[in-house]
């Protein structure tokens, strides 16, 4: 394993940024999100970003086409997605797993989303391994290895510094990293920038376990019989019906198509949407098949815990803990799974 010192890390990133844009976790006040990095910007190494990196592949807003009307004639101009190469630096394994889950939606089943695909194909991913989970983390319950790197081109490894900070929740900033290539693309980058690397032998930092778990044993068998269960009304009573959970979730991918007209011109755009919003299933004729919080809430958790698994064999959750940390009324997926397990339901073989 090669190492890269904290002193040389900035220079390494500067060198990368000369070749192509580097997207890294940076702060605006207390909010960390992935932004194009430029010299002088401080990268947040300590904790995962609040805003997940999904917007790099599924932007919150994306113009699809523009149009111009003149009399009875019209012209349409398609807008291609920006497919210029870039580096996504400092994403965590939970979020990397979320991208692999999104790939199944946008790149399989006979449907290829070309905009998603071009952004995905042209992004070099440098994952940052975790060693100290937050109290809201439960990625290991979802089969995510915080030390892994599946899907990454390069892996940054936290090294054992020998001394831990007094505040156990925080990573020690300014430490050195180990760096390993996982793909030929990654090898190429390392080779090109070998001046920044050294052979200093250090052990990876010891891995601490997650304290929190998503225990979904039995949930799979129960859920198909629970569509009309009273649990959905009970659980959703507390829900505010806002979109915090869906917008901060790295795996929620629902979108809406909206338009803007200015005189004779206009454009159609794709934007994030949330199944928790009342207009999400509103039909043109005014009927809403999910008229209340109960139906919307049920849909969200059935999608996470049941529908996605039926189609792709996995849960639509990565254990990143953002919903746990930020739901205004603490209605997180671990809590919901626990309540489903506790609920008295008909679990006969169907």
């Amino acid at each position: 394993m090669k190492t890269i010192s904290s002193m040389l890390m900035t220079q390494f990133i500067e060198a990368l940024a000369k070749e192509m844009p580097v997207i890294a976790p940076v702060k605006n006040e207390e909010t960390v999100s992935f932004q194009p990095w430029s010299a002088g910007m401080e990268i947040e190494w300590q904790k995962n970003s609040l805003i997940p990196p999904k917007n790099l592949f599924l932007p919150q807003v994306e113009v699809l086409y523009k149009y111009q009307v003149s009399g009875v004639n019209g012209e349409i101009e398609e807008i291609d997605a920006d497919d210029s190469p870039r580096v996504l630096l400092g994403i965590r394994n939970c979020d990397l797993h979320s991208i692999l889950l999104l790939d199944k939606i946008f790149l399989t089943d006979d449907y290829i989303d070309s905009a998603y695909q071009s952004r995905r194909k042209n992004t070099v991913i440098i994952v940052l391994q975790c060693s100290q989970p937050l109290s809201t983390c439960f990625c290991t319950s979802l089969g995510v290895d915080p030390r892994g790197g599946e899907g990454a081109d390069l892996v940054l490894i936290e090294l054992d510094q020998g001394v831990r900070g007094s505040d156990k929740m925080m990573y020690d900033p300014g430490r050195d990293f180990g760096i390993e290539a996982r793909t030929p693309k990654g090898e190429e980058i390392l080779k090109k920038h070998e001046d920044f690397l050294s052979d200093l032998q250090k052990k990876p930092a010891p891995l601490e376990n997650c304290n929190l778990h998503l225990d979904e044993r039995g949930v799979k068998e129960k859920l198909p019989k629970m569509f009309d269960h009273s649990i959905w009304a009970d659980l959703s009573m507390r829900c505010l019906g806002c979109g915090v959970c869906t917008y901060l979730c790295p795996t929620c991918y629902c979108f809406d198509l909206q338009g803007k007209n200015v005189g004779e011109e206009g454009f159609k755009y794709r934007c994030w949407d949330s199944c928790m919003f009342s207009d999400y299933t509103m039909m043109a004729g005014g009927h809403n098949p999910r008229p209340t919080k109960r139906e919307r809430f049920r849909n969200r958790f059935l999608h996470k815990l049941s529908y996605y698994r039926e189609r792709y064999g996995e849960l639509l959750c990565t254990g990143c803990g953002r919903c746990l940390a930020k739901c205004p009324v603490h209605l997180d997926i671990t809590y919901v799974a626990e309540k489903i397990k506790e609920a008295k339901a008909d679990v006969r073989e169907g």
Binding site: N28, E30, V329
Partner: protein, 290 residues
Amino acid sequence: MKISEQIRDYAKKMLEEGEVKQFIGFEKGRLPFHSTPVFITEPGQVERLIWDDYCITNLSKYLVNFSHEDGKTALVVKGCDSRGIVRLIQDHQLQREKLVLIGIPCQGMKDSLRFFSKGDDSLLSPGGKCQSCTHPNPVLYDILIGEEVKSVNMDRFKKTEEIENLNIDERYLYWSREFARCIRCYACRNVCPACSCLSCYLDQHRVDWHGKDPAENASYLLTRAIHVAGRCIECGECARVCPTGVSVMELNKKLIKDINELFGEQDAGVDFSQTHPLCQYHTDDPDDFQ
């Protein structure tokens, strides 16, 4: 007797005697610093009710969901919850006779939502919204548990003045950075007791209407601030629930400060006799804008 036990006793009695149909309070959530709203309908479930330093959520907005149902609802109210209820009654969203209010004077609550941003230390002091609270004691209640606390005399417009004193470019930059963080989750709207429209203008799905584009963040946040101007009860829930920490409450504070300066000191949701300053006029009202 501890406050939690007193709450359970009242809840048990009210539910057993059928005085109320449900009792709204707090229960412990997933993590030690999670206290979360709970809706109790069975006397056997009252043990779930708790009272601790994390009962920060304003519960008043939930009542709107039950206002058309038969039977009474009981709930625990801090100063901010009670002001929300006064406001909602004044807006004809709730009926006082269908509510039983258990008032609890509040010392200021800790804000678990800041945990992800700041780590554990920020939980040691009361959350941001409580630091500028003017009414820690319930203004409306049927039963009071605990001793009334003294209101801390603080300058609640300190930050408002700091922003006012920026020059126009600095102020534009400040608000641009704030608005840029809004992800349009509408948590601020959904938690707000002054946002009581059954169908929000934002949920209308039409071309050229307000869309979900973050380019329209400023227009969303400013429009909402104007909608609740004069009715905002300063509970600060909008800013607390904002996942990206947009200073939503500073927009409301500015409007409150302006209203106070133009029409005299107002305190929304405190006194039933006080009418909404922007829903009436006097012939001597200032009209400098003309």
